[in-house]
Symmetry: C3
Subunit: 323 residues, 3 copies
């Protein structure tokens, strides 16, 4: 598109405040104007062999997308992408969504579950709480997102994330994995500008790392966090990445420089096994489990090989040190 | 691109008539100006165990793409996409193309067959009839389209569709399928504007349903038909969709909200089996057979998860009712 | 994007010389201005059962992209894409890069090898020579490219190519193959214009053929060579294409008109076997081995079925003659 905002730093430096006064930009809607809700952590609690409670919020929270540029994002739990949710194949999910947005209804569409969207993914009104129950009976790396119309705006404004359904018999190489990461790719556009969402080029394309367990890295989708502070591994490690491309619009050509994927499972389903891939093609919303080995000390960039998107931010660094 | 026609309803409301008087738009070529040829049904007749006659027309017919916006399409049989053609693996096809276009040659390129394109897919001149013969010896869900230069214009103006070659031993789950649909994704651009075809963003991205048998839904590629009048199923149904992305330019991330595909066959070939996909990646011209189960009563949107394209129209509704 | 250069022949006719004087265009950097370095052939020498020396140059060489339009490309060995490199699974590669560019460092990132990019793919300064050593232990069709920042510019300006690692046990149908070709798809943008690389539509999308052995066709990525002088085969041939989409930005929907791929190996790994594909989806940097049969005498166009890109040049002709 004609959108040159990716390189037009001057129009960005002051973020949404300046944006709101620019004739070219969409204003933040009034009830969101001075809102920056503190992130509320996701609650995931196993209450039975095959049953888990998941509680999330929808909330309005500033996300620093590039240095000093904040986007007043529509989020799950104050993160964009939202926190990773991990359950087991065969789990029943009791899901609670607390909508803290004072102005707009939100909802949850987990790609991992079976539900009639008109009911299971129904809107939760502002300041209300909705509860839902559905089974996660397929293993894999699935997108979740707000499903409220216009869905494009809710996803593009930040309401996306990843739910992993661990296969009940695991993955074939579980015993050999030394280290694992969750990486999500998403795009950012001009603030809440549905015309740019529909017809523009992304302003930023970014990766985020999400914490599988306490103490893991947990970042937002931004251009700098995973460059300034790399992901860490040891030489000789076999590494697994749960990767998910949440869009909203673009496909991804996911690649790790300096290695070849030994094993890839498309959408994270163990049945969909490929070997020796240089790059995995991720449709919009698609996921994968990729496994590879880092054989030398040094820095390994992780990119989408659609290099216009790498140039706009979609590079994460993996730093490999001595054992 | 800079094309904002998707949201610029004023320039569209009166359709091609107004379009032809707008400085921004390409005029309808003179011999097509007052032409709106009545759709001629496709004729498919089995004449032997492994031989089938297929007769189609190329014709100029108005297609209502969005409410009250007509596109003077170049079509097969007055539909865009054209009618679905179904044959069996191993069939010899005797194909007849009657070109009713008074001005432009057209042709047929079936992706399902083996033929030297310079002969088997040769031009049929205006007001002439061509006959061709070629084998369909691979099972699958294949694109067909006009192959006359510039091919981009012939496809983008509407000359595309799907030919299904049923596998001689069927698909593994044939006995379990309760309901099946043919869905096609295509893009529309500014009227016959090769610069927009080449460099623009699509004005509309749409789905159509095509009739596998008499009485089935049969729609054109538009933004409203499959929303206003949903596809129908019963709770618990195992559903199969033969899906094809005919482009001309974009790939598709085909997804059904509220379910996970139990089984997917890439390009509809039973050998190319995947399981548990949330989304299937369709290249331009690519097809698939996808099978899934609807476990609850309600409405299930079918989308491309490239949500800019869903926002431009690529949403079909599947309504699931009590048994 | 707003880039209409693909159809705006007048702004192209005189190529980079005129381009350099146009306000719309980026100037050739001063040390490249009168440089047009004679292509230096790649040197590939087997020095052991599992060891091979590969010597390449980085150099500045004019590439004729469309008739009479020269692009002062950043190249490997004066070709764009660079020469195909063929090794065997299990080979150790001793790689030498001689940087003949007087102004800019360059480097080599082979997707086929295991190496820490910060060392194995390190910059070679202007007029210097670098040596590297790494194993190619996965079979397949891999991209290579310059990895110097900004990588997008180095790839988009021409520094890309294909390395094939032949599987140690061959491909399943080696004995049946009558003819094989290496085809690469790449995009060209406005000269060295990183904003166009990031946000524009490609000016040209092209195929090139690369010589597997002496006497084979070897062309640059241009709009005309493989149309004016087709690739050649005999009727009944089973043909294999090693195909690679080097981007930098776009995915490819690789298709041969008039046939169906009998067998496809994603990224060229024999494990990743698909059958009966009409079109193979190639991510940016992705490769494949595709095999098919030409059953009739005539001309078979080879395209990306993203037809905006075919219209911009991505068509190669395969001419099939009597036995
Ligand atoms: Cu929302
Ligand atoms: Cu690379
Ligand atoms: Cu036609
Ligand atoms: Cu085609
Ligand atoms: Cu979704
Ligand atoms: Cu370079
Ligand atoms: Na785009
Ligand atoms: Na585009
Ligand atoms: Na798209
Ligand atoms: Na683009
Ligand atoms: Na892209
Ligand atoms: Na494209
Ligand atoms: Zn939402
Ligand atoms: Zn893009
Ligand atoms: Zn490896
Ligand atoms: Zn046509
Ligand atoms: Zn687009
Ligand atoms: Zn299911
Ligand atoms: Zn370079
Ligand atoms: Zn494009
Ligand atoms: Zn064949």
């Amino acid at each position: 598109g004609c959108n040159s905002s990716a390189t037009d730093e001057s129009s960005k430096k002051d973020g949404v405040v300046e944006a709101a006064t620019s004739t070219n930009e969409v204003e933040v809607i009034a009830p969101h104007k001075d809102l920056n809700q503190e992130p509320i952590p996701v609650k995931i609690e196993r209450i039975g062999e095959n049953e888990v409670n998941v509680e999330m919020t929808s909330q309005i929270t500033d996300i620093e997308i590039s240095p000093d540029y904040n986007y007043k994002a529509w989020t799950f739990n104050g993160e964009a992408p939202g926190p990773v949710v991990v359950v087991k194949e065969g789990d029943m999910i009791n899901f609670t969504l607390k909508n803290m947005d004072p102005a707009i209804p939100h909802s949850m569409d987990f790609h991992a579950v079976h539900a009639a969207p008109s009911k299971g993914f129904a809107n939760v009104e502002p300041d209300e709480t909705g509860t839902f129950r559905y089974p996660a009976n397929k293993p894999g790396v699935f997108m979740y997102h707000c499903g409220t119309a216009p869905v494009l705006s809710h996803i593009a404004n930040g309401m996306h994330g990843t739910i992993i359904v661990m296969p009940k018999d695991g993955y074939p190489n579980d015993a050999e994995i030394d280290r694992e990461f969750v990486l999500i790719q998403n795009e950012w556009y001009k603030y809440n500008d549905i015309n740019d969402f529909m017809n523009g080029e992304p302003s930023q394309v970014v990766f985020s790392a999400k914490a599988l367990k306490e103490g893991d890295r947990n970042t937002n989708g931004d251009t700098f966090s995973l460059k300034n502070e790399p992901l860490l591994a040891k030489v000789g490690d076999r590494i697994r990445i749960y990767v998910n491309n949440v869009g909203p619009n673009e496909v991804s050509s996911f690649h790790v420089v300096g290695t070849v994927f030994d094993d890839v499972y498309i959408d994270g389903n163990p049945y969909n096994h490929m070997q020796g891939l240089q790059t995995v093609m991720l449709p919009a919303s698609g996921g994968a489990v990729v496994e590879f080995t880092v054989t030398e000390v040094g820095n390994y960039p992780i990119v989408t090989h659609q290099f216009n998107h790498a140039q706009k931010g979609a590079v994460a660094m993996l730093k490999v040190t001595e054992d």
